[in-house]
């Protein structure tokens, strides 16, 4: 397992899917109404700043995973505590995505199927994918994006007819403060979630610049998210975007070209399924990596099945209903501050100091 690497292309594809996993279905930009797309740009900008931090951590300790870095920088005990925290983040994120996914499937396609069945079927695939190893996962990401992007483009083109750009007016009417705060919300979900990629930092080769990977993927996915947002606003109008759980799905429902090209909302579902699978799969991988490093086990594969089951159990019990899940999304932005902002900053600073000290020591020894 140690020697498996992602190519740069695979890493970028992965990050794009990872972020899209939640944006493609719901946008939590309701408060800003027709200015929601500005918040997306804001979110991307904040994400760019923090991705520099994440990338720098990767640069200091190349080919090392987050949990390895934590132990090296903070020592055994503190390192393990932080490992637990990040493992929890991965498991919780996986469970939340899982829950979003099942709720979505239940309310749009399979109302009478028990959620547990949807979860098990889905997680069987996730487990299989996770067990197949990093290389397969990387290839899967490239293959999935070949479906996701064309579907996204075609839905956008089909909905051109129904677009009314007057829906976007008046521009920037919500004031700077509100726009900034929603921009931050946009950063925390989905862009900030890329912090989890640090767990897989060990699979990125030394030669591939982590800066390039992060910045490329954020710009690309930011563009997609921006277009999705503008499209939904132009088709549905700000009032309906604000009120609907799954604006992209509703947008696709409205598409009707020449009587025969209608009801393409299943395409949106397909996209979400692909992106959701990949995202949950990575959460499983990251969480089992964390657990493995916690117990000093070399092979993290053995922890995948238990992690998956933890995710099922957690996602069933985290929220009582759909409303609570979406209510939590509002609090999510505060909940993730330690994972996305504070801890990465601390790790970065500590890593800088530690690596300097190490270099000085090395210099002394060689001298």
């Amino acid at each position: 397992m140690e020697n498996e690497f992602l190519t740069r292309r695979q890493a970028i594809c992965f990050l794009i899917i990872f972020v899209l996993g939640s944006t493609i279905v719901f946008g939590v930009t309701g408060e800003l109404e027709q200015d929601a797309w500005i918040a997306v740009i804001g979110g991307v900008l904040i994400a760019l700043v923090f991705s520099l931090v994440y990338a720098r951590i990767m640069k200091i300790y190349p080919e090392k995973s987050l949990f390895g870095i934590l132990e090296e920088v903070f020592g055994k005990i503190l390192g393990k505590v932080l490992t637990v925290i990040f493992t929890w983040y991965a498991i919780h994120l996986g469970a939340a995505i899982m829950r979003t996914f099942t709720d979505y499937v239940s309310s749009t396609a399979l109302p009478t199927t028990p959620p547990i069945v949807i979860m098990i079927v889905m997680l069987a695939v996730v487990l299989y994918l996770a067990k197949s190893g990093t290389e397969t996962f990387g290839k899967w990401c490239v293959a999935a994006i070949m479906i996701i992007i064309p579907v996204f483009i075609s839905v956008t083109l089909f909905s051109l007819k129904g677009m009314n750009f007057a829906n976007l007016l008046p521009v920037f009417s919500h004031g700077l403060g509100k726009t900034l705060s929603v921009s931050y919300t946009q950063f925390s979900l989905p862009f900030g979630e890329i912090v989890l990629f640090l767990a897989a930092a060990g699979t990125v080769r030394k030669e591939d610049s982590p800066y390039r990977i992060y910045i490329y993927s954020i710009l690309l996915v930011g563009l997609i998210a921006l277009i999705v947002n503008l499209r939904n606003l132009a088709v549905l109008g700000p009032e309906l975007v604000k009120e609907s759980y799954y604006p992209s799905f509703t947008t696709a429902k409205i598409v009707n070209i020449g009587e025969f090209l209608a009801r393409i909302e299943s395409l949106i579902s397909m996209n979400f399924m692909l992106a959701g699978l990949t995202k949950i799969c990575f959460c499983v991988i990251a969480a089992s990596m964390g657990t493995a490093s916690l117990f000093n086990v070399k092979k993290y594969n053995v922890f995948m099945a238990p992690t998956t089951f933890t995710i099922i159990a957690l996602s069933l019990n985290l929220y009582k209903n759909q409303m609570q899940l979406f209510e939590f999304v509002k609090e999510y932005q505060f909940y993730v501050i330690p994972f996305q902002i504070i801890l990465p900053l601390i790790i970065w600073i500590a890593a800088e100091i530690k690596s300097r000290i190490k270099r000085i020591d090395q210099d002394k020894e060689s001298a």
Binding site: S107, T108, A109, L110, P111, T112, T113, V117, V121, A166, N167, L169, P170, S173, L236, G237, P238, E239, L240, E243, T250, K253, I254, N256
Partner: protein, 381 residues
């Protein structure tokens, strides 16, 4: 040995996978659903909702007789309760995924408003957001759906097609699909105008016909515009794409010429002079002369100019008349003038919002119309 276990487990897994292949969990066959084409919402004397659904009549539909539809009726305290209680007398569940039109009773729209009704249909994941919403001008909404279709076996489909093409062909009602209705109801500075339908006689049998526009304030119905007046409503809101204007030539007292609109664009702007707001409406219409009684040389520039002038005058006068009448009578802003201000200057709108309904009534409105006759079709004179 190991190979054998492997083989056995392969067979076992394949067998297990077969269980998934035989169908989906939420399988529902077409024969288990009764497809609803249209819903009419009325109120009973007791105060319950009375819903009528137009469904395909599978008993009487045959190759020789063609498609037949029939009505199913049910009652309930709420819309959804009524929908489900229809199952009491049906073998199949009603399926709303193909519902084309929702017809609402005018008394219901006046008394309780239409928000509740629309919410139920918009919330349900089965219904389409593109369903047409229309108001029945007659006594009940059910009578629209129980009329016979003139050239379509399914009356809901006919209503859907009428509404869909009206702006292009006759210009007497504005199409508002379910999601657009929601946006208009919740949007800033605008009120709703929905297509109204009434029953007329065709060959002695009842037939559904567009009866102009139902004017709303908030979600409550205020009254109706005639089809003729509705055309000018479409003019003002820049939603007119076709229709006929009849004008009179200079010597005649009666309208003796028909102009068919091929293109129209209306641009509404406003001017804010020290807090005094003036609305400016500019229309630009292209028409074709489709009918005339008078024998004149239409190729001469002067004659065409006269026709254009007459049409311009007529459009202008009628637009002002319809705007003023509607404002006075119904107290709402179905023309969406407030929204125009909101879109261009949200700060100004915030100041005006509270007093808008009163203000818009005495607002200065400047209308300028331009009509171009682009063709006289196949005849020169």
């Amino acid at each position: 040995m190991n190979k054998r276990i492997r083989k056995a487990s392969c067979i076992l897994v394949s067998a297990a996978l077969c269980a998934f292949l035989c169908g989906c969990w939420d399988y529902r066959g077409v024969n288990e659903d009764t497809v609803v084409f249209g819903v009419a919402v009325d109120k009973t004397k007791k105060g319950d909702y009375h819903l009528s659904y137009e469904i395909l009549d599978l008993i009487n539909t045959s190759k020789e007789k063609g498609v037949k539809t029939k009505m199913i009726e049910s009652e309930g305290d709420t819309i959804f309760e009524a929908v489900r209680s229809a199952k009491k007398k049906l073998a199949n569940r009603l399926y709303f995924g193909n519902t084309l039109a929702i017809v609402i009773n005018k008394e219901l729209a006046k008394g309780e408003g239409i928000s509740d009704i629309l919410d139920c249909f918009l919330r349900n994941s089965e219904c389409r957001e593109t369903t047409e919403v229309v108001i029945s001008e007659g006594d009940t909404a059910g009578e629209i759906l129980s009329a016979d279709g003139c050239d379509s076996a399914i009356i809901s489909s006919e209503v859907d097609k009428i509404v869909e093409n009206d702006q292009k062909e006759t210009g007497s009602a504005r199409r508002q699909q379910l999601y657009q209705v929601y946006n208009t109801l919740t949007g800033e500075g605008t009120s709703l105008g929905l297509p109204a339908f009434s029953i007329t006689l065709n060959e002695g049998k009842p037939a559904a016909e567009v009866a102009g526009t139902a004017v709303f304030k908030g979600d409550k119905l205020q009254g109706f515009l005639t089809p003729e007046d509705s055309r000018y409503y479409l003019f003002v809101t820049n939603t007119l794409k076709g229709g006929v204007i009849s004008v009179s030539s200079q010597e005649s007292l009666f309208d003796d010429m028909s102009l068919e609109i091929t293109e129209n664009s209306t641009d509404t702007s406003f001017e804010n002079k020290n807090g005094v707001i003036k609305l400016k409406i500019k229309t630009n219409t292209t028409v074709e002369l489709s009918e005339t009684k008078k024998e004149t040389e239409l190729t001469t520039g002067q004659e065409i100019k006269n026709i254009q002038n007459a049409a311009e005058k007529k459009i202008k006068e009628n637009m002002i008349r319809v705007i003023r009448q509607t404002q006075k009578k119904y107290n709402g802003d179905i023309f969406g003038f407030g929204q125009i201000i909101y879109k261009k200057d949200p700060k100004l709108w915030n100041k005006l919002r509270s007093d808008w309904d009163r203000m818009v009534k005495d607002m200065d409105i400047e209308v300028s119309c331009k009509v171009t006759v682009s063709a006289t079709e196949m005849m020169m004179s």
